[in-house]
């Protein structure tokens, strides 16, 4: 991990600066997280009337459940696909919208503001488009010989939730790629152009490396997004089905916690997820550090 060479002296001011964030973190994350850890070691009714310490029972049950283990693999696939799709599309669009063409302000606005579409409405839109009976797309697909029914075809269901989840995230990535591209001094790009580098070469040798901090940040955010914030979309479209084809880990936490009210199991899953997040970030930092990128 790279560090700044120049720094300010002293330690009181920085701690003061950090205080609000640390306080918020302690109150609204560490404390509830401790609660989750406590609950993950207990078995009790949802009302909190009776609770008994059961040690690691909840965890043992989790890891001996083949359905949970299958969900782990499925989640990895889902996160990879969503992140790749939304990052790739956003990067292409951002590079294009950053080029000196007429009407770019219009394109930028057109690509940013759909981010504001509320998740609930996004789900309705996707149902309107993809519903096997009332959707707009299935008739077109059937002309191509594709029988579209994501409620019974597990693969199609997965494609549906990946598309819907990636779609929602493209605008987000676009905004940051655009901001990243704009902070690259135009002089550097101009110099490369003078040297006769073509647009693709310019992109891979100059823009992409210079975007590395933005990309690194976005990869983290996109993995977190696809892993944790997609349950609303999945819940609205497939409820994790058919069978369990689209049941990702966070859908399961949400269902066990908020729908099934099994706080012990749901807390154990939360704890596993927290550990997963920490591991993932550690891994990512390691990787990026080895590559020598400034993260």
């Amino acid at each position: 991990m790279s560090e700044r060479r120049t720094i300010f002296p002293g330690w009181r001011l920085p701690l003061l600066l950090l205080a609000p964030q640390l306080l918020l973190t302690a109150l609204f994350f560490l404390w509830p997280a401790a609660g989750a850890i406590e609950a993950s070691l207990m078995r009790g009714d949802p009302f909190g009337l009776s609770a008994r310490f059961v040690g690691l029972d909840n965890f043992t049950e989790l890891f001996t459940d083949p359905l949970y283990l299958a969900a782990v693999g499925r989640t990895l696939l889902f996160c990879g696909a969503v992140s790749l799709l939304s990052l790739g599309l956003a990067l292409v669009l951002a590079v294009l919208a950053d080029s000196a063409i007429r009407g770019r302000a219009f394109y930028r606005t057109a690509l940013i503001w759909p981010y504001a579409v509320a998740p609930v409405i996004a789900a309705v839109v996707w149902i309107l488009l993809l519903h096997p009976q009332i959707g707009a797309l299935p008739p077109l697909l059937s002309r191509l010989g594709i029988v579209w029914d994501y409620r019974l075809d597990g693969t199609q269901a997965m494609i549906t939730v990946i598309l819907a989840s990636a779609w929602k995230q493209v605008s987000y990535n676009f905004i940051f790629f655009l901001a990243g591209l704009q902070s690259i001094p135009a002089a550097i790009v101009e110099a490369a152009r003078m040297d006769g580098a073509g647009p693709l070469r310019r992109f891979w040798t100059i823009l992409f490396p210079l975007l590395a901090p933005t990309t690194g940040f976005l990869v983290t955010v996109n993995i977190a997004y696809s892993a944790f914030e997609t349950f609303g979309t999945i819940e609205a479209l497939t409820q994790g089905g058919p069978a369990q084809a689209t049941q990702t880990l966070v859908v399961k936490v949400y269902r066990d916690g908020v729908v099934n009210l099994d706080l012990g199991a749901s807390s154990a899953q939360s704890v596993v997820l927290m550990a997963g997040v920490m591991l993932l970030t550690l891994l990512q930092f390691r990787l990026l550090r080895r590559r020598g990128d400034a993260i």
Binding site: D45, F47, R52, Q133, L152, G241, P242, V259
Partner: protein
């Protein structure tokens, strides 16, 4: 536990003081104590809940009942539980029928209706409520635990236009599953219906109600009414045959799976579906949206399983009274008054007519009949007739199983895997029973602390 109580106490103390002026509830005309009522009724149904509360508020001057929408049934229940744990439970909460098992295990968190009656002296006569409705929310000894509120039951909806095109008589709908299969075939071949038959709420309709209609046990211990140690038994041959029938029909293209829960709703109003199994309460929506003639019919049965069908079981929700620190007897009395009010025949009948739910009291149904409602709205009485078919038995009074929503999902998952051709009907139900029993054992353990 102690920490939680301390936290709850502190919360109750500071909650009132913490309300910033701009955010505080707007001043009411009268300074009456407020009874909070959390519900899950969205859209036009939410309007009707508000009307019921307004009527109560106008009819007496002691308290104001304030209805608050708290999301889906699941979210409402979670919100109520979270609030209870923080010592801020609402006075009343609407809980879906499948949450009944969990609420009964809530001990001091709730005041069951019979306890409320005892404490406040306001009596509720169980005999006033429709047997199939009341039984779902009663203890084995017959005393009521929750107040029936919005109840529906699945019925068979048919598209009359498509029926006629298929050479079928919509006035003589198929009564048995054999006739349904034949009708679906005709709908597909003769009327070229895009969807011959579909269903909303697959588990509720095709499993839970199938069991009730044919007097088949769903679980041991009287479907769970007589003990937490009940075991699921819905992998018995008649259930397997029913699932097999659906699988066969799906293969033949006469049954289209519409998805879990209410998802099947999305298909029928399009007008390309011949038969749809759905809640009786969707009548209002269908009337508004459908541009074709449609009708409701009794759920079909299988004469090879039982010569004549029994009553169907209900869906919907009931009202639970919740407790909180420092809640006064006067507040409980106000709650009881409100529950009494909504059980009055005129209130019940009005609610039923406005929403499409069945009246929960016999007098309410009688009043609707006397007012000529069922004569004016043919088919609106199908649900009531069906709920009163036969005599309520151990197998048709409902299900008393913990974490039933989860079990429903498990059945739907296994059914989906069977529809995909990955397993047979028997294997699907065996697997659902095994997974469901595991959930029941977990629930049992959690209740015993």
């Amino acid at each position: 536990m102690n920490r939680r109580h301390l936290l709850a106490g502190a919360a109750a103390l500071t909650a009132a003081a913490a309300l910033p002026a701009a955010f505080a509830a707007p001043a009411r005309a009268q300074d009456r104590p407020v009874v909070t009522f959390w519900h899950a009724m969205s859209g036009p149904l939410g309007e009707e809940v508000k009307k019921v509360c307004d009527a109560f508020n106008a009819a007496q001057s002691a308290v104001t009942v304030a209805p608050v929408f708290k999301g889906t049934y699941g979210e409402t229940m979670t919100a109520a539980i979270a609030a209870f744990r923080a010592g801020q439970a609402p006075h009343l909460v609407q809980v879906f029928e499948v949450g009944t098992g969990s609420m009964l295990g809530a001990g001091p968190a709730v005041r069951q209706v019979w306890q409320l009656a005892q404490e406040t002296g306001i009596a509720f006569d169980p005999a006033a409520y429709m047997p199939a409705v009341r039984s779902y929310y009663s203890l084995p000894d017959g005393s009521m635990a929750a107040m029936p509120f919005n109840s529906s039951t699945p019925v068979m909806w048919l598209n009359a236009d498509l029926f006629e095109r298929a050479g079928l008589d919509p006035a003589a709908p198929p009564a048995t599953w054999q006739e349904v299969a034949a009708a679906a075939d005709a709908l597909k071949t003769k009327a070229s219906a895009k969807v011959a038959m579909t269903t909303a709420w697959p588990t509720w309709v095709m499993m839970e109600n199938f069991g009730a209609l044919h007097d088949l046990p769903y679980a041991t211990k009287a479907n769970g009414f007589e003990g937490l140690d009940a075991e699921l038994v819905f992998n018995a041959p008649p259930y397997v045959a029913q699932i097999q029938r659906l699988l066969d029909m799906a293969k033949a293209g006469t049954f289209t799976y519409g998805g879990r829960g209410a998802a099947g709703d999305q298909i029928f109003p399009v007008g390309e579906t011949g038969l749809s199994f759905n809640s009786s309460a969707v009548r209002a929506a269908f009337s508004r949206d459908a541009k074709f003639r449609f009708a409701a019919a009794l759920l079909p049965y299988d004469p090879s399983v039982r010569a004549s069908p029994n009553n169907s079981i209900i869906g919907g929700a009931s009202l639970w009274t919740m407790t909180a620190p420092r809640r006064t007897p006067a507040e409980y009395k106000a709650v009881a008054d409100f529950l009494k009010f909504i059980s009055q025949p005129d209130s019940d009948a009005r609610w039923s007519k406005a929403t499409g739910y069945v009246p929960v009291t016999l007098a309410g149904a009688g009043l609707s009949l006397a007012q000529g409602y069922y004569a004016r709205t043919p088919g609106a009485d199908i649900a009531i007739r069906q709920l009163n078919r036969g005599a309520v038995t151990e197998n048709s009074k409902g299900l008393r199983l913990g974490r039933l929503p989860e079990i429903r999902t498990i059945i739907e998952e296994e059914f989906e895997a069977a529809l995909q051709g990955r397993q047979g009907a028997q294997a699907a139900l065996d697997s659902a029973v095994a997974r469901g029993n595991k959930v029941l054992r977990e629930f049992e353990k959690s209740m015993r602390g």
